[in-house]
C-alpha cells in the first residue's frame, strides 16, 4: 500500500533501497556538516538497512569506509568523526583497521558507493576540488579525496547532492575529480575505465539517471510537489522534454513502518525532515 504522508528523506530512502540488491557490498563515507551528513551518510545508511530488512538480507553495509554491518540501533547520534571511540566501540561485524584491508577496490569488491561533491555535470563528472581555475581558484575546496576511486573502482555510484541549484548541477564541472560518461560508455572504455560510474543523482527535487550510451544525465523522476519550471531554473543545463517524466514513487506503508519503527525509531538518522509534496 502506498503511503500519502511521508518526508522527503523517507521518499529518497525508499527509492534508493529498491535499487540495492542482495549480496552487495555498499560503501558510505562519513560526511560532516548537517546537509552533507544527511545526504552522504544518513540517508544511504537507512536505505541500505531498509534493503537488508526487505529484499537484501545479505547486503553488507560499510559505514565510514571501515565499519562492517554496524548496529545502527546502538547509535546515540550520527557520528561526526571518522576515528573516535564512538565508531570504534559501535557493535559491528568487522572493522577495517589498515590498508590494504578486508576488501579490495581494485578487484571490484565494492558493489556501490555514495558520494557527494560541490558540482556534478551533465556527463556525470563530479568536482570536490575547486571553483574556477585550479592554479588560482576562486574557491578552493578540500581536494579529490576518494571520489576518483568512487567513480572508477566501485560497481556504481549514487551521487548525493543536498542542494539542487544551477551552481551545483552544472553544464561542466570546474575540476574533474570523478569521471562520468564523457563520450558515453564507449568514451569511458577509451579512458581505460573498465566498469563503474554514476548510477543515479539524488537531489531534494528529483532523481537523475543516465543515458549511458549517449553520456547524458536525464531526469528519472520528479519528487511530489516540485514545480517543473522551478526544476528547470534550478538546473545548469537544458533538461529537454519532461512531459513523460513520472513523479517519484511514494514509499509503501511497509517501508515507512520499518524505517520509523525499526531502523530510526528515535529519528537520529533522518528524523525531522520536511514533508514531501
Amino acid at each position: 500500500m502506498t503511503a500519502t504522508d511521508f518526508t522527503l528523506n523517507e521518499l529518497l530512502v525508499a527509492n534508493l533501497a529498491r535499487d540495492l540488491r542482495d549480496g552487495e557490498l555498499g560503501f558510505t563515507g562519513l560526511a560532516t556538516g548537517s546537509a552533507a551528513a544527511l545526504y552522504a551518510t544518513a540517508i544511504p545508511l537507512v536505505a541500505m538497512e531498509l534493503a537488508r530488512r526487505l529484499h537484501a538480507p545479505n547486503l553488507t553495509v560499510l559505514l565510514a569506509g571501515w565499519v562492517h554491518n554496524p548496529d545502527l540501533a546502538a547509535l546515540d547520534e550520527l557520528p561526526d568523526a571518522e576515528f573516535d571511540e564512538r565508531l570504534r566501540d559501535l557493535p559491528c561485524e568487522s572493522q577495517l583497521l589498515t590498508y590494504p584491508g578486508q576488501f579490495s577496490l581494485r578487484r571490484g569488491n565494492i558493489s556501490f558507493g555514495f558520494g557527494s561533491g560541490v558540482q556534478i555535470d551533465r556527463v556525470g563528472n563530479i568536482n570536490s576540488v575547486c571553483i574556477g581555475d585550479h592554479a588560482k581558484p576562486k574557491v578552493r575546496l578540500v581536494g579529490p579525496i576518494l571520489l576518483p576511486e568512487h567513480f572508477s573502482m566501485f560497481g556504481r555510484e549514487y551521487v548525493m547532492m543536498p542542494r539542487h541549484d544551477s551552481r551545483t548541477i552544472v553544464e561542466k564541472v570546474d575540476y574533474v575529480a570523478g569521471v562520468g560518461y564523457p563520450g558515453g560508455l564507449e568514451g569511458r572504455k577509451a579512458l581505460g575505465l573498465a566498469w563503474g560510474g554514476p548510477e543515479l543523482v539524488i537531489t531534494p527535487k528529483c532523481f537523475f539517471d543516465f543515458d549511458k550510451a549517449a553520456g547524458r544525465m536525464t531526469v528519472r523522476s520528479i519528487h511530489p510537489g516540485v514545480d517543473i519550471d522551478d526544476l528547470r531554473a534550478s538546473t545548469g543545463f537544458d533538461l529537454g522534454d519532461l512531459a513523460a517524466v513520472p513523479v517519484t514513487p511514494a514509499p509503501t506503508s511497509r517501508e515507512l513502518s520499518i524505517i520509523r519503527a525499526e531502523i530510526d525509531p528515535r529519528g537520529i538518522l533522518i528524523g525531522n525532515g520536511p514533508r514531501a509534496g
Binding site: F83, L96, R140, V142, M153
Partner: protein, 309 residues
Amino acid sequence: MSIPANAAAGARRLEKVQSLADAAGLVADGCRIAIGGFAIYQRPMAFVRELVRQRRKGLTVVGVTNSIDTDMLIGAGAVRRVETSYVGFEKYGLARNFRRACERDGLDVVDYPELLSWDRFRASQENLAFWPAPGLGGTDVVRLNADIRPFTCPASGRPLHALPAAAPDVVVLHALASDVYGNVIFPPYRNLPQNLDLTLARCCDRLIVTVERIVSENFLRRHSHLVEIPSVRVSAVCVAPFGAHPTSMLGRYEDDQAHWQAYVDASQTDEGFRRYLDDYVLGLDSHAAYLDKVGGSRLASLFQVDTQK
C-alpha cells in the same frame, strides 16, 4: 677475528632522545616532509609548532589527508607545495589558511586520490619510483600533473598511470611511548591513522617520533610485542606529552574542541591567525610553555576512558 677498537673503551649505545628544537633541525628548509596522523586525528602538532618557531621555509608537504598540521605551516609561510588528497578540518569546516593561500597566492597544490596517496608511500616503502594506478583516465588529477605518466601494463596490456612515489626526505609522527633508544610502542588496537603512521615510518630513513612519554628499558623489553618501530629505524625521539593537541590521540585523549574552534575563528583572517601564532607558538619558547598556556584543567578534561582492546 679482531676486537673492535672501541670495545675496551666501553662504547655506549646511542640514546636518541632529543629536544624538539634539536630534532626540528633534521628538517631542512625546502625538504619534502610527511606528517603523521590522518585528517584531524593524531598529528604531531608539538613538532609542527616547533617548525613554525624555527621559521622553516619552502617545505613540500606530502600526505594522504591533511588538516591543521598543513594549514598551520601554510599560515606561517613555511610551505611551498602540497601533495595530498584532502586539506580540511572535517566537522570544523574548511582550512582557511590553505584556502587563502590557494585563492590569493596560487599555492602549488598537487591533488592526488586518497588511496593512491597512501600507495605513493607504499611505493617508497618498496623503494619503487612509481606506483601503477588503474582508473585515473579522464580525471583532472592526471591532466594537471605532468609527473603522472600513462603507460601500458606490460603483462596485461591494460592502460595504467604511473604515480610518482611519495619520497619524503623526512617523516615525523606522534606515538604513545618509546625507550631512550627509540624503540616506539604502539597501542595493541590500532586504527587507520596509526597504521598509516607505520607505512610512513617504513618508507623513509629519516624518522622523527614524538612520544607521550619515555619508558624504561625494562618496561620496553616486557612489552616488545608492541614495538612496531624498532630503534634501528628511528633518527630522533622527542618527549611531547599531549603532543598531538589540539588533535586527538586515538584511545588516549580527545580533540580539544574549544581550541579547534578558536583556531578556526582566528584563521578567518591573516591578522587573526598572526595573533593566534603569537599567542600559542611564536610567543612561547617550548612545548611545556604551550601546555601551560592551554591549561592543566583543559588538558585533564580531554582524557578518554580507556576501553582499548
